[in-house]
């Protein structure tokens, strides 16, 4: 991977630049920032709903699996009489169903972030960009992949690095 990085001190300038780039059909644009810049969601093709869908599926399957397993073990495999309650005493199965659904959902939420983001990845070309360590402090870095600085539009404030 190679390309051009443009570093900004202010998020507003960065957002304007991203808008310009997107208008001129630069597709491989990413922005590195110290916090979640909500306005970028509309400018870049991010897909956070992938996480939501994965979690929904995990909660549904987890809860279903837990309930199904309890039914299978308590009604089919070893039916056992407790104080005359029915073998399929469903209200008593609900706490575990709920907890297991939540557990599966949470594990999926955590690992789907890693999976969709391609993390952990400890070596990445963007780390070679000069001053990239300030991304976690006060810099907003736009990276346009596979494009040399000369092909890019001119920006007033940004500092340009080729990498």
């Amino acid at each position: 991977m190679s390309g051009t990085a443009i570093s900004f001190a202010a998020s507003e300038e960065m957002i304007e630049a991203v808008k310009t780039l997107r208008e001129r059909d630069f597709n491989h644009v990413d922005v590195y920032s110290p916090y979640h810049v909500k306005k970028l969601e509309a400018l870049l093709p991010t897909r956070p709903s992938r996480v939501s869908r994965a979690v929904f599926l995990a909660v549904a399957l987890g809860a279903l699996a837990a309930y199904g397993f309890m039914y299978w073990s308590a009604v089919r495999l070893y039916p056992f009489d407790v104080a005359g309650t029915p073998h399929h005493s469903w209200p008593a199965f609900l706490p575990v169903t709920f907890e297991f659904g939540v557990l599966m959902g949470s594990i999926t939420a955590f690992f789907s972030v890693l999976f969709f983001s391609g993390l952990p990845r400890y070596h990445h070309p963007v780390f070679d960009i000069e001053g990239f360590h300030r991304v976690t402090r006060d810099r907003f870095v736009i990276v346009v992949e596979g494009v040399s600085p000369t092909a890019l539009p001119q920006f007033e404030k940004g500092t340009i690095h080729e990498f």
């Binding site: 970028l40 996480v51 979690v55 709920f98 976690t136």
Partner: protein
């Protein structure tokens, strides 16, 4: 978010700021990273760690003696089979609830002020759950067989008894611990990256490994923030469910003083009361010591104090309803239970409980009290004691006089009971000290975002 933050402050006094000292985002990053990377805590930290490790040794010895000799070294007997171990379990797990309440519930409610205390409150939750988990595990008598609680393909063709609250409890507490850990770590990943970028040498490598190679890409943030919100939504019902299920351990049994429908909400309110008390107990010295007054402002303490006042009322309502319904039932053993509560062997403790949980929190009506950190600190200590006493009364106060008068017997905790309880403070303390020394104790990226949005 800023407009919502403002909405919280409807009182006539000038609002205490969420972030003090006019800090900029970069200041926050540098300041909090420096807490982790340089030794700002000085010698006191080492002294505190030494004391905690000493208590941890007490913990280790208590566990070793218990494993070597069995639960007979505790004060439990046929009549009071639960004793101090279960009291401590309920107490510790209750404390954890405030952390989840702050980090998850208040996030969903868009309460911006939560940002600066959520990280350390989550840390408190994790460690409190760890301390809590020790007790039921050891109370099994043969803790190495704990996996019998899980469904696993065994040669006995046996499966867990799903209708038992003890299984629900096991599932609830282990889920709670796991979700808290994932939630805590997910929030921590970008902050560890921030520390990585300020660090040098071996520390840089360690934090680089821990932050999983976080780059802060817009795509990463997008997934991260969505997942964080979802985790908050998943953790919020846990605030209610975990202690409800713990309360079912008691209320499913038909003993007077346990068999009551008020138990789940009463336990949840108690959990949040004791949890916020612990938040204040930890936050007040911590902000003075680590000079975090700009992050953990009076506003945080005041809000926590208000939540204590509310939950104190709910808990008091629980006491009242228990007494009322006992009297209303007219049932002999239930009436006797009430009599024992006020005149029996454990009645002095019961009055301490009432004083600490119901009467003293009334001081929180005064704003002056709510905004004096050290006054709050001492009150929170009293509430901690009161809530522990309440659990002791519930466990021992009910069990020592059951339906069989010939079996009535007092309970005396032994030195190993107390040793283990004291020891968990060592466990909590040592891990907490390591946490405040090596982990960003304030959520950096959320603070930077909060400051940025406050300016807009």
């Amino acid at each position: 978010m800023s407009s919502k933050v403002d909405k919280v402050e409807r009182h006539s006094h000038p609002p205490d700021p969420v972030v003090g000292g006019g800090l900029s985002g970069a200041d926050v990053v540098d300041d909090i990273s420096a807490h982790v990377l340089t030794d700002r805590l000085g010698q006191i930290w080492w002294v505190a760690l030494g004391c905690s490790l000493l208590l941890l040794t007490v913990f280790a010895i208590s566990v070793a003696v218990l494993l070597w000799k069995g639960v007979g070294v505790w004060g439990i007997h046929d009549t009071v089979g639960w004793g101090l171990a279960i009291t401590n379990f309920v107490w510790w797990i209750g404390i954890g609830h405030a952390g989840t309440f702050i980090s998850a519930f208040l996030l969903l409610m868009s309460q911006g002020w939560r940002t600066s205390i959520n990280r350390f409150a989550e840390g408190m939750t994790l460690l409190a759950v760890a301390c809590a988990g020790v007790f039921p595990l050891l109370h099994l008598g043969r803790p190495w067989l704990f996996y019998w609680l899980m469904p696993y393909p065994n040669r006995m063709a046996l499966w867990p008894q799903w209708r038992s609250p003890l299984i629900w409890d096991f599932v609830a507490v282990s889920t709670y611990g796991s979700v808290s850990l994932l939630f805590w770590y997910l929030g921590l990943v970008p902050d560890l990256a921030a520390v990585r970028d300020r660090a040098t040498g071996r520390k840089k490598k360690v934090y680089a490994l821990l932050c999983l190679g976080w780059r802060g890409s817009a795509y990463h943030w997008s997934y991260h923030q969505r997942a964080y919100l979802i985790l908050a939504a998943l953790a919020t019902p846990l605030v209610v469910s975990v202690h409800s299920i713990v309360s079912l351990d008691f209320s499913v049994a038909i003993l007077p003083g346990w068999h009551s429908t008020i138990f789940p909400p009463y336990f949840v309110a108690g959990a949040i009361l004791s949890g916020f008390a612990m938040v204040i107990t930890l936050a007040v010295p911590l902000r003075a010591w680590m000079k975090l007054e700009n992050y953990i402002t009076l506003k945080h303490l005041e809000n926590s104090a208000k939540l204590m006042l509310i939950t104190s009322f709910i808990v008091t309502y629980g006491y009242a309803s228990e007494i009322f319904f006992g009297w209303w039932s007219g049932e002999v053993f239930h009436m006797a239970h009430l009599k024992h509560l006020f005149t029996g062997a454990y009645s002095p403790l019961w009055f301490v409980v009432l004083l600490c949980n119901s009467i003293l929190p009334q001081l929180l009506w005064w704003r002056k009290f709510r905004t004096s950190p050290w006054a709050l600190f001492w009150l929170s200590l009293a509430v901690n004691v009161g809530m522990w006493g309440e659990r002791y009364i519930i466990v021992v106060g009910t069990l020592y006089k059951d339906y069989l008068p010939s079996a009535w017997r007092l309970y005396h905790a032994t030195i190993w009971d107390w040793g283990l309880f004291l020891g968990t403070f060592g466990l909590f303390g040592s891990l907490f000290l390591l946490f405040i020394r090596y982990v960003p104790v304030i959520s950096i990226h959320e603070m930077v975002e909060l400051i940025k949005e406050d300016k807009e």
